[in-house]
Symmetry: C2
Subunit: 217 residues, 2 copies
């Protein structure tokens, strides 16, 4: 496997982004945390490893081979507008967002015209940038507890072989996590519904960490 | 737990229905297999246990406390029209269908106006009949190999507590299968997408039995 070059994690100080950044850094990957507010972000990452740097989202996107979109779905359009033209022509984008809303305490899927958050982002990214999804079903706060192992499966999809391979390599970098390639980007519709199912299970059974493993694979 | 009264399995000679009928009968539950063609169905069940009888779909529905809809989704409207008025007022319906199509070898979710097969059936059943879903994500042909254990989770949802409890009791009757209550009937949208994900995993990885287990529960 090719060594993974610098990975930008846009929104890398949020719960999901911060968990990913620290776990990937612990696996020996150089990380650039992208933030709307790099000064504040520098405070957040103080105490993380030397492998993690901070930059604006646009600078982080320009500096990396792999760009992870780890912002809340409702801010994704502004982020893609901000960084799309800054990404290298051969960069690969990884979408980890889920279009869930918790308004009024009730969990619901947002109605995304393209069918999934992944397809929504695809429609807004520069054509040449390959896109895959990963890390959509792993609980963000489990990801953020970086000393706890991730004993589950992570589902990867994308229309580009190179992008799926990159996403699978990121998953494989995290101990005990197994990547499961599920094919084309439109499979994100199923993956995002799986996250909704995990949240529903957590709420109903007063848990926080429901996640999935495929049996028979 | 109350003993489970006779369970009607409409479409009980199909792969999914036949697996359910034989496994539930093996658990000591009396089964009435409903069929459009009871004479032919009698041939199919010859050699099954004495606990399994055959009737027309309408007669099977009239004879049971629990009625499982195990026909292909595309025939569900005709079936509900046929049996809806024959069901007992206190009967509970269990939907096990998934709105998948495999036309031209390509798997796709049918566009169901109500959001899921379960909600589609809900809109067509008599109001008083409570409905839950179960057995949507277990591979039909694994279900049909009745000597093999089912070492996975099955997701149950429904708006009626009584219906969810009945569905969970059916799941619990099958050794090693764990029922996971995921709440309201609209969660069927996620469950049915999970089946699509299992099919996608099977196709991509040349397997036949992909199924799921919840970690952290």
């Amino acid at each position: 496997m090719m060594p993974l070059g610098p990975v930008a994690i846009l929104g890398g100080t949020g719960q999901q982004g911060s968990g990913l950044a620290r776990r990937l850094a612990a696996a020996g990957i150089d990380i650039v945390v992208g933030s709307r507010d790099p000064d504040r972000a520098r405070g957040t990452i103080a105490g993380w490893t030397e492998r993690v740097e901070v930059a604006s989202n646009a600078s982080a996107a320009a500096a990396a081979d792999t760009i992870v979109f780890a912002v809340p779905f409702k801010t994704i359009d502004a982020l893609v507008d901000d960084v799309g033209s800054r990404m290298r022509a051969d960069a690969i984008a990884i979408d980890v967002t889920v279009p869930l809303t918790f308004e009024g305490g009730r969990m619901a899927m947002l109605d995304v015209a393209e069918g999934s958050a992944a397809e929504h982002i695809r429609a807004r990214l520069p054509q040449g940038i390959a896109l895959a999804c990963a890390f959509k079903t792993i609980p963000a706060h489990l990801l953020d507890r970086v000393d706890e192992p991730l004993d589950c499966d992570e589902f990867v999809c994308g229309d580009s072989d190179a992008a799926r391979e990159r996403a699978l390599a990121l998953v494989a970098a995290l101990p005990q996590l197994r990547g499961v390639d599920v094919g084309p980007l439109a499979r994100a519709r199923s993956i995002e519904q799986l996250t909704a199912l995990a949240v529903a299970i957590n709420r109903r059974h007063k848990r926080h960490d429901a996640r999935f493993r495929v049996v028979g694979l």
